[in-house]
Amino acid sequence: MSFEPVWGAPIAWYLFLAGLGGGAFITSAFLRWKHPEAHGMRFAGHIIAPVVVIIGLFLLMFDAEAGLHNPLRFALLLHNPCSVMTWGVVFLAAFVIIALITLLLDCLKKQVPVWLEIAGSVFAVCVGAYTGALLGVCQTFPLWNNALLPILFLVSAVSTGMSSVLLVGGLKFPKEFDSVGVLKKFHYCFPIIELVLVASLCFITSYNSVAGFESVMSLVCGNWAVLFWLGFIVVGLVAPTAVETWLLFISKPGFEETPKAHYIGAAADAGVLIGGFLLRFLIVVAALPVALV
């Protein structure tokens, strides 16, 4: 029996955008706490958060064709409280509402209540982790069915969210960008943590079953190897880490604040975003089901 992946690129985009939106919101909340002067970057995070999540939700609806033809059926999504997808709907709805209220308050130049940012950040964490749990409960696919996936997706969500805000900061608000040192250092750590998590996921999964082994092999030396190594590992994780290491710790004092450094940093952030998408895409398409017979 041949196997076709159940989901494809639209769902990978959705998983990526949902995480990105949650991460951008968390980044804005972090900026308020550690760098309250970075108003432009905070505002950027508040715009990115709801916009990308809403785009992701549209992708989800376009992929769910029977619902697209009969939109009222989407109201049934709350029917099964045991389904991770139902939890996701609750988390996404709460997050999008909070993110839109936050954006509205920001546009009206009104102070966003701290409790609202905390609540939004909690739901952002839930959204980021849920995207991993959504796949994680499917026992058919060993590459998904493990406890690492929600953590990996959450780390990637925060990493990509921070990258998106830093990318806008570096290009649009260079003064603010130069002052957010604590954010940059946190952001620096995430691709490294992600690398450890991906290595663990591949290592453990390859030992748990034949299907797990074959899924990992298709990533590291099979159909998806070029995209995995060049796209995800090099462009998405190693290159950004190398560039940030150079900018943060090795380059001459003062260079970091030049426009050239901003462009190099922006390229590294773009790499993290590409890696974030490729992570979801590869995990979705490379998973093979356990053998039936």
Partner: protein, 179 residues
């Protein structure tokens, strides 16, 4: 109330595909959406090698992973233990397809909704006709009936052959295989 199930004797299966064809005809399915799929297993080495054909479909699990994940309640189990899909509730999210370890579910390209083996409930309940996958099989591979009725043919075959589900007791499947 019954508890419908099936025994599939793969030692009799010749892999002709008549069951799939009959099913597609009876249920008005597109060629892209087979409810019955076939796996092939090679065992032994030449000259004693053999090829086993294993037909699979919705196993009507008592512990159905598809039903557990379906967010809209489109997948449900009826009073006779048959796992059904209410197409009017399905949004086509395909979560059930990802959760089903038997890869038994397919998308109906005409509606976007997910579909699968129905155990041809209407004809079975009328008592007029069995599921056509059973009657079309030239080798008598399939036996369908009420697992709770000790006098049913399926119960007798099950007792005689000690047939087991494909994945053990993982999902409490109601299709049993003689291998």
């Amino acid at each position: 109330m019954a508890r419908y199930g099936m025994v599939i004797d793969t030692t009799k299966c010749i892999g002709c595909g008549a069951c799939r064809l009959a099913c597609q005809n009876q249920n008005d399915l597109l060629s892209s959406m087979p409810f019955v799929k076939f796996s092939e297993v090679e065992t032994g080495v030449y000259p004693t090698a053999s090829l086993q054909v294993v037909p699979s479909q919705c196993m009507h699990c008592e512990d159905a992973p598809c039903q557990a994940v379906c967010p809209t309640g489109a997948t449900y189990t009826n009073e006779d233990g048959i796992v059904c899909i209410d197409h009017g509730r399905c949004i086509g999210c395909k979560y059930c397809m990802a959760a089903c370890p038997y890869q038994a579910r397919v998308v109906d390209e005409r509606t976007g909704a997910v579909d699968k083996c129905r155990f041809c409930t209407v004809s079975a309940l009328n008592g007029t006709e069995m599921s056509t996958c059973v009657t079309a099989c030239p080798a008598g591979v399939r036996v369908f009936g009420d697992l709770d009725d000790p006098d049913s043919e399926v119960s007798k075959v099950l007792a005689a052959t000690h047939a087991t589900p494909l994945l053990g007791d993982a999902t409490k499947s109601k299709i049993f295989y003689v291998r």
